[in-house]
Assembly symmetry: C2
Homo-oligomer: 460 residues x 2
């Protein structure tokens, strides 16, 4: 007999004579001549309630069931007389796969997020983290569906790279050299002896590679892991996280903004429509304002304004910021959140940033002072998207690289794309975990990643 998943049973249209459920015991309550057992199989947030009468063959086994024990139950799916659930199971057979000992850490009580981080291998068994990782899965699918419906191709850009896309440092080195005996040549590491015969790092962005494919296949996107060796322990940073990076040929900054706005709205809408039960948990217990925030995002036309106007608003704001703002300063999270939460009360797209605070590949505006960059800011998160139109003019790009002191040789292939059939193109990067934090209200990035990697922390 094939097992039924609880997600299917709780939505059953009618009673079912005979079903088989397998899962883990959440709680057991004993009455005089029967027991209630709540079973969860991870397919959804809800448990299914099982009623085991004392005339069951193995009823003494049932009386021993502890939280976390694994069981199989066959029986009848019947309308529940008790409140709180539509269906329950009247058991006719109980098989105990394994009894969890009393030391099982996830006893029925509230555990702190810190405590649960120390057992990342068990926390998806809790309501909150089960829900978070089911939403993570659904949101991933929403990403692929969104882009595929629009004719985008998914590209797996390399994780191990020889180049540093942002020129920003903070790289993890990859090597097979013996660290107790690093070969040297001319007073430097002799990378010729390393696996790739040169320096190799973990990628910080797939953008430059994705551009090559946009200039071939048209609309493409990446969705994969990226890395920052940033030694900072904050709620917003992890050493390993997933990024979504669409890249579009024949697309200018306006088209880029349109895509970013459409993507965020579609993602939020997908979760509201497809993850109702799990989302409710977060709206009730994690962030009371969650649904208001999400509905505001879906309904609003995102405000679009140039960086200089954003700075003017911040300069005139009554709020005192930790970091003062003036033209030329990078916006901090406090500024971004002020703009989107307090001033406009909806998502905001800031564009035309000073070239001095942006990377080399962004397209120079005619003022020769600002570049065709855009950031999308959303309530409760701040910056969710950073993107730009790319510099497609070879000469302008090379001049900019010279100005910034970047070597051109490692970028020969990137520059070739501007030599052969160059066209305007645009794209952006979106941190997948930030999007997850937005839709769940979870405040710490460690709590939306199955096994988070942060400085000094690589357990599991």
């Amino acid at each position: 007999m094939e097992r039924s998943k609880i997600a299917a049973l709780i939505n059953s249209a009618q009673p079912i004579d005979k079903i088989l459920v397998k899962g883990w015991v959440r709680t057991r309550r004993d009455a005089k001549s029967f027991s209630f057992i709540e079973i969860n199989d991870g397919s959804c947030l809800s448990n299914i309630q099982v009623i085991a009468d004392d005339d069951l063959p193995d009823y003494d086994q049932v009386r021993k069931l502890t939280t976390g024990s694994a069981v199989a139950v066959t029986g009848e799916l019947v309308a529940s007389k008790g409140g709180g659930q539509r269906w329950e199971i009247r058991a006719d057979e109980f098989t105990v796969f394994s009894l969890a000992p009393e030391s099982y850490p996830l006893q029925k009580k509230r555990h702190s997020d810190e405590f649960l981080r120390s057992m990342a291998h068990l926390r998806p068994r809790t309501n909150k983290y089960g829900a978070a990782f089911r939403i993570r899965s659904e949101l991933s699918f929403a990403v692929h569906q969104f882009f595929r419906e629009r004719g985008f191709r998914y590209i797996h850009t390399p994780i191990i790279t020889g180049s540093d896309c942002e020129g920003a440092g903070e790289l993890f080195r990859i090597t097979t050299l013996d660290l107790m005996n690093v070969p040297q040549r001319d007073r430097a590491v002799d990378y010729a002896k390393d696996f790739f015969a040169t320096e190799a790092n973990l990628t910080v962005s797939g953008q430059l590679s994705a551009e090559m494919f946009a200039l071939s296949l048209g609309d493409v996107y990446t969705f994969g892991p990226t890395f920052r060796a940033e030694n900072s322990n904050t709620r917003r940073h992890a050493a390993e996280f997933w990024m979504i990076e669409p890249e579009m040929a024949f697309c200018d900054l306006n088209g880029n903004m349109d895509l970013g706005e459409a993507f965020i709205k579609a993602s939020v809408r997908f979760i509201i429509e497809n993850c109702q039960e799990d989302l409710n948990l977060f709206a009730r217990f994690v962030d009371k304002t969650l649904m208001t925030t999400l509905e505001n995002i879906v309904r609003s036309d995102f405000e679009r304004l140039p960086y200089c106007e954003a700075v003017a608003i911040l300069e005139h704001a009554k709020k005192k910021f930790e970091y003062p703002v003036h033209f030329g300063s990078d916006l901090q999270t406090e500024h971004e959140r002020y703009l989107t939460e307090k001033h406009f009360k909806k998502p905001v797209i800031v564009y035309a940033y000073p070239k001095s605070i942006k990377p080399f590949y962004m397209r120079m505006n005619d003022d020769n002072e600002t570049v065709a960059a855009m950031d999308v800011l959303v309530p409760s998160i701040g910056e969710l998207i950073g993107g730009s139109q790319r510099e497609e003019r070879l000469e302008v790009l090379e001049n900019r690289m010279d100005e910034m002191g970047l070597p051109k040789e490692p970028y020969w292939w990137y520059l070739e794309s501007r030599r052969y059939g160059t066209v305007e193109h645009s794209g952006f990067g979106l941190g997948f975990e930030r999007l997850l934090m937005l839709v769940t209200g979870i405040r710490n990035i460690r709590d939306v990643i199955p096994f988070p990697r942060t400085p000094g922390s690589i357990d599991f």
Copy 2:
């Protein structure tokens, strides 16, 4: 005016008065009073033919168009009088974004795969590689759709790990230590000073992490990059490749085989149904037997036989193998291909392998000699899937680790999953690039990866 993609135009149901197309010139042929220009925009294999009359405003620009130049065309979509295409565009306006110089490497002629590998940034602009990477994108989507329809959750298991799943070595080390000045302590590298305060490597498999989620959420899968620092230059090996790893709670080896068979069939069927045009290219120019191979896979019941029977067949085979076979030897590609291509002439699942050639986590059979492992072998590839039922009995697992000399401390969390509510569970790993090689007939793994990483090779 919004641009139309060529993929949409070639399937248009009727003529269209006014359209805008943007793309790259593949060829230009001049007649006396007009020119034919073939344009491709990467949305599909087909070009669209444009007819530019000499009374166009910028007709002298048109006469300069070279292969690889980027253009925009507005005009009318009309039925084509020539053979070979249903629709063509009668241009009324031509904009040249950029002219490709004569040095553009992708002139209209056949280029070798080796040559194109040296320009991985341009090769997706060719018919063959455009088709390969469109199929890669569609096949990725097929993976997600297959699992989601069956209620599986997608899990992002970590790329940076402290553990070595297979215990097989061949690891890439990750570090932020200064390699010119590696800190030491007690005559060893002082990893306490490294980013994660311990040794860190690139993952070789997400399985152990995925098991934790199967034992929480039920059915899960991973689909992400994995790494092998294997210093071998073969057509089948890359240092970085993508793996698909489903893991199912309450599932034994038979269920595992069923899933593997269903997955391969569904993937092949998806490509046959959704990538007809691109697939035809491979069937015509790359592998004449491709469609026969694929249809055989979709139609066959996969043969299932224990390892000992497979060995007996190989021992009695007339073919002389490079590596002789006996009970206890690992099957080589030549053996796998003999079984699936010559002997059974269809996909084969070999199960119950000797424990001596399999990793510690596979479930011990009652004979205490073989484990509940299974490999799926397919024509033209050999091993496509390797999987097993996992050892869920704590004591048996610990004994096996002792037998193999594995330290238990790094696996404390893995062992805990057997202490708390352990249940039978199974899963497998499938190399995504091998699946792609199967469906395209491409014989070199370097040619199905956007920017392949192999020993000594990390360009782009």
